[in-house]
Symmetry: C2
Subunit: 413 residues, 2 copies
Amino acid sequence: MPEFLHLLPPEQALSIWLEALPWPSSIGAETCATVDALGRYLAEDVVANDPLPPFSRSTVDGYAVRAADTYGATPGLPAYLEVVGEVRMGEGTSLHLKTGQAALIHTGGMIPEHADAVVMLEDTQQARSRQIEVLKAAASGENILQRGEDVQAGAQVVQAGTRIRAQEIGGLMALGLAEVSVKQKPRVAIISTGDELVAPGQPVGPGQVRDVNSYALGALVDRMGGRISRRRLLGDDRRALEEELREAHAADDIIVVTAGSSVSERDLTANAIQELGEPGVLVHGVHIKPGKPTILAAAGIKPVLGLPGNPVSAFVVAGYFLPPLMRRMLGVTEQGRTPSIPARLAVNIASETGREDFVPVRIRQEADEWVAEPVYGRSNLIFTLVRADGVIRIPPSATGLEKDARVTVMLLQ
Amino acid sequence: MPEFLHLLPPEQALSIWLEALPWPSSIGAETCATVDALGRYLAEDVVANDPLPPFSRSTVDGYAVRAADTYGATPGLPAYLEVVGEVRMGEGTSLHLKTGQAALIHTGGMIPEHADAVVMLEDTQQARSRQIEVLKAAASGENILQRGEDVQAGAQVVQAGTRIRAQEIGGLMALGLAEVSVKQKPRVAIISTGDELVAPGQPVGPGQVRDVNSYALGALVDRMGGRISRRRLLGDDRRALEEELREAHAADDIIVVTAGSSVSERDLTANAIQELGEPGVLVHGVHIKPGKPTILAAAGIKPVLGLPGNPVSAFVVAGYFLPPLMRRMLGVTEQGRTPSIPARLAVNIASETGREDFVPVRIRQEADEWVAEPVYGRSNLIFTLVRADGVIRIPPSATGLEKDARVTVMLLQ
């Protein structure tokens, strides 16, 4: 399992990883109040028990009529209708219109029996008490929202695997579904390793630095819809790492290990992951910058991701490999859509053919367009990412991007 | 205050609203654990107490050297250096290099005194015990991440008003800041009104429909970083509405009222808002589709937003007016960046000049591009939004958009 003998293109590496895992995943379902389900993933298709709207409704303020009674009506030759009542909001109506009759109705009101159109108030005129002039012909169905026009009873309205947004919450509540079955949040173990790392609250001695990855990656996992299983901060101690990996393997759904940065630390991590179980390390080294020393592995049904120790590489690689893994574990059938903004590149950027580069950029608005400028800084500076609004991808086929090129900035949210 | 006498362009309406409110807002600060601060807004600038990294570090595995000692070194004419020790990870080093000396160092290790470059392991060769050949000259500073190169002590690293992302959490933790001062979440009252509305758990009688807006808007507010203050579902009862508005005005930071859909219900809402205090209703009617009957108001220092009753209009209008309001209340100085995806329009869309239209669309990938197709459905169908991936904006200057036009799809997340 020597490192970097075969640098795989990231897309191919991802395929190998996903193919080595069993699908569908073992992530279970749980019941959740619909109002608390924002950002969760539906575990089952949702079917409407009732039609929506549950009755035909007026979309305007006016008079419910029989359209045929208004045939040919104009301001010069109005149709005269008898007003037989008013449809009150929030109540059923027992009105049945006969030929020549109309009923006052408000927006959202229930269409009475035998009415098939609504004439807007401004297209009518009071003639006598209980009589109106209709100044404009109405077509059958005009200004009516039909029963079931939004959703038919029995229709599948939201698919399993859908990420629940504000409008899904509205839609589910409209159907009276106050609870919903969602996928459990995958538990993602984050194991940070390195003799130089210090946990929060501890003093930083000479030669030591604070652990960044546990927290930046933890927040990333949170953002992606996972549940962080924060694990021990480890030194470069193979036995301790193996033990922690075994515990995570028993308890969690996905295991992420950030290795120390030196070659020996990376080898230690790869060997410890290999010991965790078959099929073991699948990919060791990806043709990506930053992030070359990435490890993709599986132990039984559990995916393991070995990340470089430097925070920017770890962040970019996690942002590349975890979302498609988690989407698949959560049963998402739709393609991922990275929120992005189209921009113009402010400068030339060089790149190596065959390698996929991810370049952190800032964006600023100039006239009517966004301009993207690389954040200069080495890949081991965490504040490079703090200064960045997003990243741009330079595909393996390119030798770089030219100034003024149209680029897609994937926003770091 | 008659409705729709002056339909204002939405941008102008927004300016009038924001200008009528006092700035900075009265939203206070609170302390939050950094690990829990994802999505919150910084209340104060963050200044680094210590430099990052706290000491100069090697970025490779190799030998720390004095660059001058390697001058002119080549494989044919190597420089010979005495290895005087090893820098151990996570410890300070007391090594001081003298001319002709080198120290073994790992990636991330602390650069010893008087060393000013690191030669990569692969550019060296073991000569004798404790002696190496350096095969390549090193420049001063090569392969060293200087103390403070990421962040200087005393530097302002994150500005007040910044939305905290995963990388900010990493950066703050790197600086040892386990707590952070964030803006309180603005409390947003949501008052849904309409005689026809039924609360969850209640049976739906004839002529009645379930309340959607409280929940869809609530989730939207949650997504924007607000705290929902869920209020009573009201019938079209002016006294009850005035009472609820007063309570919300006393307790909450922003008040959102969705009116019933009929003209009389909308008038009732506008009048009740007007009674709440000066300056009262500022805008009544916006040249936007959907959402024309929008009310923008202020009572003292508190903004009030009156939304149309139909769920799609309410959702689109809230999505237009609330984010800039909330950003300003939270002290955000940066421009809003709506996550979006560039796409090609699948069909012609007509629009009225002078009006700003927001059209819900689905997107699908075709070859290398996204194609956007309008979701057909009336603006009062909540599932129109469920079926939509985003919306496209048709500016007031256009009479529509042509098939194959390049459009920006603002993602509904």
